[in-house]
């Protein structure tokens, strides 16, 4: 087993383990804990990205997600002071139903994944470097890129409108 494979398993385990802790931490139901584990998940996923040679995205992942999104979350959590509500009991039926539904999707999917053969004959060549990605982004994908700019504008307006304290 080469290093890459070992690293994959490490990162995968980290990703999934931390992911599980985000949603169901047996010790704490505090959203802050969840947020922190989400950071870990995202960072270990960035590791997986690196293993897949998507260097630029790994960086973006850490920058945008861990650096911005999660910070935003934490900011909001502290703003809202949600501690008091963190400990409500989960209903057994709800748990069961959730497990069944998600479990069903998971099982079906994994079963079919196992049954599907991917043609792996070509050696992976692609490198997700900044320049390669940039080239594609600004040639083939310039239009969605521009549309995303509108989206960001809308998000900006929206955030301002929604979070303005006074309803003037």
């Amino acid at each position: 087993m080469d290093l890459q494979n070992i690293l994959f398993y490490v990162f995968a385990a980290l990703t999934l383990g931390c992911g599980a802790l985000v949603i169901a931490n047996p010790f704490s139901r505090n959203p802050v804990t969840s947020a922190m584990f989400l950071v870990l998940t995202i960072v270990s996923m960035a590791g997986l990205f690196v293993l897949l040679h998507a260097f630029f995205l790994a960086a973006v992942q850490i920058l945008v997600y861990a650096g911005a999104v999660i910070v935003l979350f934490l900011f909001v959590i502290s703003l809202l002071d949600l501690k008091a509500e963190a400990t409500r009991r989960v209903k057994l039926f709800g748990l069961l139903a959730g497990v069944v539904a998600v479990g069903a999707i998971l099982t079906i999917f994994l079963k079919n994944l196992g049954a599907t053969l991917f043609s792996n004959d070509s050696k992976p060549m692609v490198e997700g470097g900044t320049s390669e990605l940039g080239k594609v982004l600004f040639t083939n994908y310039v239009l969605p890129f521009e549309v995303v700019s509108v989206l960001l504008l809308v998000a900006m307006i929206g955030v301002i409108l929604l979070s303005k304290k006074k309803l003037d």
């Binding site: 709800g94 139903a97 959730g98 539904a101 998600v102 069903a104 999707i105 079906i108 999917f109 079919n112």
Partner: protein
């Protein structure tokens, strides 16, 4: 004017009169009555003119317009002019005319006189239509119209509940008969493909087995119509009740014309009836004659007694048809028209004189106060009883003779019935006669009675004359022309006078014997009676007779109750099963589902997300299965 148009004119003048009165002169009593009387009298005259010009042609002449031609169903509107119909026309317009005139007096004080005459004219039109019809559908149409005009006339005093009920009853019972009639017509048409009487007759004479196996059924179904209209057992119940109408109506419809239509129809379609069917016809007629006569013995209403006598006499006629004796039947029909109209009108005269009192036990001793009525009634009674030389004698005798001439069990049995009924007839009519005209006054109104005006008595006299001589004026010969094409005997007056004794001595003598027995019985029991002695003598039987053998009750308990029951079930089913259960279930189910489904929408995001995921899971399962 073309001769062919005359019968059309006769037919439609009464209709025109009725429509004219209904539309324009409902408020003008006298004008209305003159229009109506004018129409029928003119009709009588025109008929006479036509017969004079045309003679009694035995071959049927037809005057035809197309009415409803659809594919194989070709309904014509045609007039069939043969001695049978021409004679009937004379009766309808003649006797009817007399009754119309009489009505002017009888209805003098009634506010609805114009309406009355309109209806009378409508009836005349319908009756003439039956008489002149040349095909089944046309006959059925007028058959129904006669039914409805009788309905209207019986219910003339509609504010009286009993009149309304009687009208309704008459209509429905007639409808029962018509039901069979129409089915019969359908059957005949289905088998032979034609509705025209002459065509049908031709087909049957060409091939007597044309009707095949269903011949008897078809014949009997058609006979049902006659049973209804001529009030034969078991549909006889409407006729006595129909006496709720004004007396001229009883005279016109329920004695002289409408009830005779059944017999007339039987003679008209005689060729359709095969032997088994005729047997049934004969027995039904005989039984009706007997039953009605028995019931008549214990009735107290002057008009009801006469009504039952009508039933009984109609039974004679039907029986006669059943015995292959159309001529005697029609002959009796003719004389019966005279004397029964006479009896009714005389009774009406009595009723008017007593201010609408109809109970015979409240009359009495009217002989002196109403001499003309007394005489005419006596003539009518004698004619009804069938004593020589009154008209009734000849016709009744010919029926009895017809029965005897059969020389079989059926003939003898019915002959016996006929003779017995003849005796009963004499008995009850003279019971009536003695109680009403003889004895002493049994109420105040009876003592203040006085004779009716001329407009009423004149028709009485005319009818009385015909009741006397009706048997001798050659009516029979006219009928023979069509029914027995070969032998048209034209005997002299004296031969005609004593003809029955020569031709069928047994029938004639037994008939006269029955008369005297009946007369004697009536005299012994009723000449001086204040109340009816018979109930004491007969006990329960008398009660049964008085109650008409409970036919009304039986019908009430069976036919009416059954229909009402089925109707109740249907209504219940409709209300609770169709409307309540089925619709209610669907509606309620939908509503409940809606209300229930709504609770999926708990408002809780978690539930929503769960349902969303569940939906994906299910979809995934099916898609990747």
């Amino acid at each position: 004017m073309k001769l062919e148009l005359l019968p059309w004119l006769v037919l439609f003048m009464p209709l025109a009169a009725a429509v004219f009165i209904a539309l324009f002169t409902l408020r003008l009593r006298n004008v209305s009555s003159f229009i109506s009387i004018g129409a029928i009298v003119a009709g009588f005259i025109l008929t006479v003119v036509f017969i004079n010009a045309n003679g009694w042609q035995p071959t049927p002449g037809e005057s035809v317009r197309q009415w409803l031609p659809v594919d194989g169903l070709n309904v014509e509107f045609g007039l069939r002019l043969d001695p049978l119909s021409l004679m009937m026309m004379l009766i309808v317009t003649g006797v009817g005319g007399a009754i119309h005139i009489y009505s002017r007096g009888y209805m003098h004080d009634d506010s609805g006189m114009a309406r009355f005459f309109a209806k009378l004219s409508l009836f005349t039109f319908s009756m003439l239509g039956i008489v002149l019809a040349n095909n089944f559908i046309q006959m059925f149409i007028f058959w129904e119209l006669v039914g409805v005009s009788s309905y209207l006339l019986i219910g003339f005093w509609f504010e009286k509940p009993s009149a309304g009920d009687a009208a309704k009853k008459a209509f429905i019972v007639n409808r029962l008969g018509d039901f069979g009639f129409l089915l019969g017509i359908l059957m005949v048409w289905g088998l032979l493909g034609s509705l025209n009487f002459s065509t049908l007759q031709g087909l049957i004479s060409q091939n007597p087995a044309a009707l095949g196996a269903s011949a008897t059924i078809a014949g009997l179904l058609v006979f049902c119509g006659a049973v209804g209209k001529s009030a034969q057992f078991p549909l006889h119940v409407w006729l006595p009740d129909a006496m709720e109408g004004p007396t001229p109506v009883s005279a016109l419809i329920h004695a002289a014309t409408m009830v005779a239509a059944g017999v007339y129809m039987l003679c008209r379609i005689f060729f359709l009836l095969n032997t088994p069917a005729l047997e049934v016809v004969a027995y039904i007629g005989g039984f009706t004659a007997l039953l009605a006569a028995v019931i008549a013995v214990q009735q107290d209403d002057i008009k009801r007694i006469i009504a039952y006598s009508t039933l009984s006499q109609l039974g004679y006629m039907v029986m006669s048809v059943g015995l292959h004796g159309q001529t005697p039947a029609m002959f009796h029909l003719t004389t019966h028209a005279f004397f029964k109209a006479l009896l009714f009108l005389s009774a009406g005269s009595v009723i008017i004189a007593l201010h609408h009192e109809q109970d015979i036990w409240k009359m009495g001793a009217l002989r002196q106060k109403m001499p003309i009525t007394f005489v005419t009634f006596l003539v009518g009674g004698l004619a009804l009883s069938g004593i020589w030389p009154f008209a009734g004698f000849y016709s009744k005798d010919s029926i009895l003779a017809q029965a005897l001439s059969r020389h079989d069990f059926e003939g003898y049995l019915l002959f016996a019935v006929g003779v017995f009924v003849a005796g009963l007839t004499t008995f009850y009519i003279f019971r009536l006669f003695f109680v009403v005209f003889c004895g002493k006054e049994k109420s105040d109104t009876a003592s203040h009675a006085h004779e009716s005006p001329l407009v009423m008595t004149l028709p009485l006299i005319v009818l009385a004359v015909f009741s006397l001589i009706g048997g001798l004026i050659g009516v029979e010969g006219v009928y023979d022309r069509i029914f027995l094409a070969e032998s048209v005997h034209s005997a002299g007056f004296i031969a005609a006078l004593f003809g029955p004794f020569i031709n069928a001595p047994l029938a004639a003598s037994l008939g006269i014997l029955a008369f005297f027995i009946g007369l004697g019985g009536a005299y012994a029991l009723y000449a001086k009676a204040d109340k009816d002695p018979l109930p004491e003598m007969l006990g329960g039987l008398a009660t049964a007779m008085k109650n008409k053998f409970y036919f009304d009750e039986i019908y009430e308990a069976t036919f009416v109750r059954a229909h009402d029951f089925v109707a109740a079930v249907a209504d219940w089913f409709d209300r609770w099963i169709v409307e309540g259960f089925c619709i209610g279930l669907i509606r309620g189910g939908t509503d409940l589902t809606g209300r229930g489904l709504r609770f999926l929408q708990t408002g809780n995001l978690q539930t929503y997300a769960f349902l969303f995921v569940l939906g994906v899971a299910v979809a995934l399962y099916f898609v990747l299965r």
